[in-house]
């Protein structure tokens, strides 16, 4: 019998890959873009039903649907700035100490949700959260790393998850009562097949299957692009998401910065002499996080490129030093501490400038000032040595010149007020200031990031 081809179920600018299908395959939960409303999409009727609309800065994130498609468990970012676990609009777990929660699977009796808790000390925990408001039962803790996906077998007895060990993503099977655990293979985004004996998972752009008892593996399909398994539904059908399109860095007369890794590039930064372009490029499997990034350094005249892997969990926004030997980046180290780092271009050696446990890299921006001095913005504070400014939204440095955009919208250049601005970020373009973001100007050429990312949700009946 011929295997059926994958079938596109849903795509559109509003579709994200945050959510999962019901076991009966009728509906899928989804956090819509850009509204962040949590909805249920009915595959047959092609209708969208609101579950939890975003409200006043609060919104849903990860979600899972019960087997019968009637209940939705989801993470809810609350007004206090952390996530809580909600079911059908009711909070079942709220604890600031576990600031991030990710529901992953319902137990067959519908009384517990297999949940990932992420603590303030960068420890992730695999836990069973009861829906009666009781305390979650922590089965296992993992330092710094977190599973990209956990799933519960149909009989509710076994959990499969992935975790980073020694630089490789290993697959584990953990007894749901905490009585045992076993390493079973390597890969990411594991899901149980309906028989409870086999696991499907991603390896790069390929979908693989593992028979747990024997360790036997087989490739089911390749060439799936930047995909991630989202759930198994009745009939051994896999529902998976694909990130089609992507982000690209362009410079000069709209020349793409990379032909080797199209659609994976962002955050360009020119060297002071305009001869070198640095940008961030994504590697490895698709994931919800931002890890597996490298810095690419391109000599514009020769188009020769070199990759620098700084060994950070996240790296972004490279800014060249005045001597062209170092890059200032924001990011997070492998212990989850966000901050600002200096990367030596020749050796790739990383030196932290500022780190903050349990923080978000997006809180930081940095730029070189005169000489080797460094301006660091952390939240609303901008600091260079002993000099500190408060209430800052964005800033731009050009030699000895400093432009500051305050959260009130007031723009100040070299200490003098220059009116109001709606921009979120600012960048010097010659003598002028322009709205920033993923944009830079060398004095001769521009460089910028364009995004044409599009998400697709597919289903495929797995071969027996």
């Amino acid at each position: 019998m011929l295997a059926l081809l994958p079938l596109l179920l849903w795509t559109g600018p509003e579709v994200t890959l945050l959510g999962g299908p019901s076991r009966d395959g009728r509906v899928i939960s989804n956090v819509q873009a850009p509204s962040r409303d949590l909805v249920l999409f009915d595959f047959a009727a092609k209708t969208v039903k609101a579950v939890a609309p975003s409200s006043g800065g609060e919104f849903a994130y990860f979600s899972i649907v019960s087997a019968d498609g009637k209940r939705v468990a989801y993470a809810w970012k609350n007004a206090d700035g952390f996530y809580e676990l909600r079911v059908d609009g009711r909070t079942v777990y709220r604890n600031e100490e576990a600031g991030f929660v990710q529901p992953c699977a319902w137990t067959p009796d519908g009384k517990f949700v297999l949940t990932l808790l992420f603590r303030k000390d960068n420890t992730s925990q695999i836990a069973m959260a009861p829906l009666d408001g009781g305390r979650p039962r922590v089965l296992k803790s993992l330092a710094w790393v977190y599973p990209k996906r956990m799933d519960l077998s149909a009989d509710g007895k076994w959990i499969v998850y992935d975790s980073l060990v020694g630089g490789e993503r290993k697959l584990y099977v953990l007894a749901a009562d905490g009585s045992g655990e076993r390493v079973v293979g390597e890969g990411v985004f594991p899901l149980w097949r309906g028989d409870g004996k086999r696991v499907v998972y991603a390896l790069g752009e390929e979908l693989w299957e593992l028979t747990v008892a024997s360790g036997e593996r087989r490739k089911l399909r390749g060439g799936l692009g930047r995909f991630l398994p989202m759930g198994m539904v009745a009939g051994d059908v896999l529902v998976y998401g694909v990130r089609a399109g992507g982000t690209e860095v362009y410079y000069g007369n709209r020349q793409p910065a990379s032909l080797r890794y199209p659609g994976r590039n962002s955050s360009p930064g020119w060297s002071v002499d305009g001869k070198w372009l640095a940008y961030v490029s994504r590697r490895g499997e698709e994931n919800f996080g931002e890890e597996a990034r490298v810095i690419v350094v391109r000599e514009v005249a020769s188009t020769v490129e070199r990759e620098i892997d700084p060994g950070l969990a996240l790296v972004d926004a490279p800014v060249w030093s005045n001597d062209g030997k170092r890059l200032l980046v924001r990011g997070a180290d492998r212990q989850g501490r966000a901050g600002v780092f200096v990367v030596d271009v020749a050796s790739g050696k990383v030196t932290p400038v500022e780190r903050e446990p349990g923080s978000e890299p997006g809180r930081f921006r940095a730029a070189w000032g005169e000489g080797d001095s460094i301006w660091v913005q952390r939240g609303a504070e901008l600091r260079n040595g002993e000099r500190a400014l408060q209430g800052v939204r964005s800033f731009a440095v050009r030699g000895a010149r400093l432009a500051v955009l305050y959260s009130t919208g007031t723009l100040e250049v070299d200490g003098e007020e220059r009116g109001k601005s709606e921009a979120k970020e600012i960048v010097w373009r010659g003598e002028k200031l322009v709205g920033g973001g993923a944009y830079d100007y060398s004095g001769e050429r521009e460089a910028w990031t364009e995004s044409n990312a599009r998400n697709e949700i597919w289903k495929w009946e797995l071969p027996q």
Binding site: E97, S141, G178, G180
Partner: protein, 289 residues
């Protein structure tokens, strides 16, 4: 390598993982744990019959003792402090220098160490009517059941916002922030199980003796901070008599590890950190019900 970790279902104290790792060759079993408990207190395992495991790992003292460095048979003094051995079931390596990869490897080494108990393990086993393997498995099983948790810190982490005093909560903010203790002391067991040269620089080369890597000179495994307030003196050489001295030492930032730098803590902040460490004292349980 791939194997099953098997464990008994134990009512673990709040704050610890339900999964208690144990190798498939030595699953937690009540009879073996009971035998291990008896052996733990049995001085016949030492050459002159004066030292038991519990001599240096006293249950009344957080499974450690009060001596700066371990004292074995004939009052011989070893090079390092007797570590607290609570929650070692969750350990990834054992001893200050990590020279044992499993509890089964670890538990027999003090018996054979001439400075500690000074006996061939086989001879010690014969003395108590067991084989070497039976002795090893029983001792390791018992140590796996020594658990400490349900402390004010654990209750706070679980969501009880009243469990820590205001001073301790300020200490926790320092622990995670300015003082950056969490760089090494994290997770349910308050340790990264890694090796760092953060302590006093001396003649003891620590992890280097095992790895032979230059960067490991003077590096020792991060100890768990559970029950720390009740188990002075501190550090691998027992050179700090109080928690105040430990905080003062790290405030000066004299260790060799790149994570170590002067912290510039105020006197009040130092008090807050010490207060927090008192909140790591919880309930200690051992054996199986």
């Amino acid at each position: 390598m791939s194997w099953w970790w098997l464990a008994a279902i134990v009512a673990v104290p709040l704050g610890l993982d339900q999964l208690i790792p144990a190798p498939v060759e030595n699953p937690l079993e009540a009879g073996r744990v009971k035998l291990g408990r008896e052996l733990f207190f049995d001085k016949r395992l030492s050459r002159d019959g004066t030292v038991a495991c519990a001599t240096c790992h006293d249950p009344a003292r957080g499974f450690s003792d009060t001596a700066p460095r371990a004292v074995g048979i004939g009052k011989q003094v070893g090079p390092r402090r007797s570590p607290r051995i609570v929650n070692r079931a969750y350990g990834k390596t054992f001893f200050w220098d990590g020279r044992a990869a499993t509890l089964e490897e670890q538990v027999v080494q003090p018996i054979a160490n001439p400075l500690e108990m000074g006996m061939r393990v086989e001879d010690a086993a014969v003395r108590v009517g067991l084989t070497r393997e039976e002795l090893t498995r029983a001792l390791a099983s018992y140590v796996r059941t020594i658990l400490a948790g349900d402390s004010p810190y654990d209750r706070f982490i679980a969501g009880d916002r009243e469990a820590l005093t205001a001073e301790q909560q300020a200490g926790l903010n320092l622990f995670r922030g300015k003082a950056n203790c969490v760089a090494c002391h994290l997770g349910p067991n308050l340790t990264d199980e890694e090796f760092h040269a953060t302590g006093p620089v001396g003649v003891d080369l620590g992890r280097f003796e095992v790895s032979r890597r230059d960067e490991d000179k003077g590096a020792f495994k991060t100890p768990s901070l559970r029950q720390v307030a009740e188990t002075p003196p501190y550090l691998h050489d027992g050179s700090k008599g109080t928690l105040e001295e430990v905080v003062e030492f790290y405030d000066q930032g004299k260790g060799n590890d790149p994570e170590i730098r002067p912290l510039k803590l105020t006197a009040e902040e130092k008090r807050q950190l010490v207060a927090l460490m008192g909140a790591f004292t919880g309930r200690v349980q051992e054996g199986l019900p």
